[in-house]
């Protein structure tokens, strides 16, 4: 009896422990996602913006003793881009004097008008191509009494008038303006090609897919492009999604914050689909989608 008891104790004491094994939660998961970033956009000149108001003519308006020099524009988009290249005060010279197709006029005393030089661009396959320079005049002068010097008054009419100026840079000298209409420069309008995508950063590239960690709050930025140049998003709306948390279903310039707490079943990838409207074409709906692969840290053998 005692021998049996001793044998039993010995047997219990020598039972070997089993070895721990790391678990392999997803042995047959889908192959790794190979994200395809968008092609790199070419260089965009600094300060470039999409033109929504187009130059029409230089305008000289006289009311009593005050003559105002301004620029008439029309609210329309010709598919061109522009940027400010210089702003000049009355009488100040500019490196761009003589380069504007509409010239830079002068006051009655011969001083050059104040205003702003803009450089116009068209978007081609090779990038942004400068096509012309235009001067937007923005100045005024008050005609002094006859006793004061006013060599070449802008107008002899005391009544208020408003008429486009005659010619380009030759209008220096402020001769009495002849009603005339300056045609726009020969810029061929390019209808912008719009596209939309989703990025993970405000200035990041758009992505077709992304891997994210379970439980991590991720920000998705709906973005839009006109001829591959970023344009402002007027509004976006989330069409379909499967996150466990979303910050909003609609928005404008702010991103969508989303979070997944559950893991997808085997072979399932989730996606976010957006409906996007831009400032460039407010009535044109763009769709954007990003595929999401939710992952979680796990042990491997």
């Amino acid at each position: 009896m005692k021998k049996h008891a001793a044998t039993l104790v010995l047997a219990v004491a020598l039972i070997p422990a089993i070895q721990a094994q790391a678990r392999e939660p997803f042995e047959h998961e889908a192959p790794p996602v190979v994200p395809t970033p968008d092609p790199v956009a070419f260089v965009v000149p600094a300060g470039l913006y999409y033109v929504t108001d187009t130059y029409v003519a230089d305008v000289v308006a006289t009311s009593d003793a005050t003559t105002t020099y301004s620029t008439a524009t029309v609210h329309e988009s010709t598919g061109t881009y522009a940027r400010v290249i210089d702003s000049v005060d009355t009488g100040a010279s500019s490196a761009f004097d003589g380069t504007a197709f509409n010239g830079r006029g002068t006051l009655t005393d011969g001083r050059a008008l104040a205003g702003t030089y803009y450089e116009n661009f068209v978007l081609t396959a090779g990038g942004y191509l400068p096509v012309s320079i235009v001067f937007f005049q923005d100045d005024s002068e008050t005609r002094r009494r006859a006793s004061l010097s006013s060599p070449r008054p802008a107008t002899s009419s005391p009544a208020a008038t408003s008429a486009p100026v005659v010619g380009p840079s030759d209008s220096r000298g402020g001769a009495t303006p002849t009603p005339s209409f300056r045609p726009q420069p020969p810029i061929t309008p390019v209808a912008p090609t719009l596209r939309a995508g989703v990025a993970l950063a405000a200035d990041g590239p758009t992505l077709r897919s992304a891997e994210i960690l379970r439980g991590r709050l991720i920000y998705f930025w709906p973005r839009a492009y006109a001829n591959d140049a970023a344009v402002a998003v007027r509004s976006w709306r989330l069409l379909s999604a499967t996150p466990d948390y979303v910050s909003a279903t609609t928005g404008a310039s702010e991103p969508l914050a989303a979070q997944w707490l559950r893991m997808p079943t085997h072979g399932v990838r989730w996606s976010l689909r957006f409906e996007i409207f831009t400032e460039v074409a407010p009535m044109e709906r763009l769709d954007a989608e990003i595929t999401i692969t939710v992952r979680s840290p796990a042990l491997i053998d």
Partner: protein, 159 residues
């Protein structure tokens, strides 16, 4: 015929008792060693999981792919030491020393081959191999080393 064997059993027990005690001490120490090994292995597992959870946000925004943070190995080493504090009394070296001497490697991109083990990783991986000296006074009773070094290994990746 009736035989009285009570005396024989007593003598047998007296002779076998030292051997039984030695075997029992060894078994108990072996069990304790296994328990420490489990705890240290869990510390290593959790350390690599924490390191994998720390991803390179810039790379994610640029490419949409998960990539380990540049300091993933340091993170794993730090948390390996932290996770071993509860087991420190059973260890024959300080947790800091053990963590510092651990072989920790991060493979930020995949696929990658571990030059130490030859393992191929299909995901960004943090791998930890450490030799942990454990106090085993019970083994000293049976003329075995009083310190037993165990080797543990852990590896994690986002899956």
């Amino acid at each position: 015929m009736i035989h009285e064997d009570g005396g024989t059993a007593a003598v047998t027990t007296l002779v076998m008792l030292p051997l039984l005690l030695v075997v029992l001490a060894g078994a108990l120490e072996f069990g304790a060693l296994r328990a420490v090994a489990y705890r240290v292995t869990a510390a290593a597992d959790l350390a690599t999981l924490v390191a994998v959870n720390d991803q390179d946000q810039t790379e994610l925004e640029r490419t949409g792919t998960l990539r380990l943070a540049a300091n993933a190995a340091d993170t794993a080493r730090d948390y390996f030491a932290r996770n071993m504090y509860a087991t420190a009394p059973a260890l024959a070296a300080s947790v800091t020393e053990i963590a510092a001497s651990a072989d920790i490697a991060s493979f930020p991109t995949a696929p990658a081959i571990d030059p130490h083990t030859g393992t191929r990783y299909e995901r960004p991986t943090v791998r930890l191999i450490a030799s942990v000296p454990v106090k085993t006074p019970g083994f000293a009773v049976i003329f075995m080393p009083a310190v037993t070094t165990i080797t543990i290994r852990a590896a994690s990746s986002p899956r």
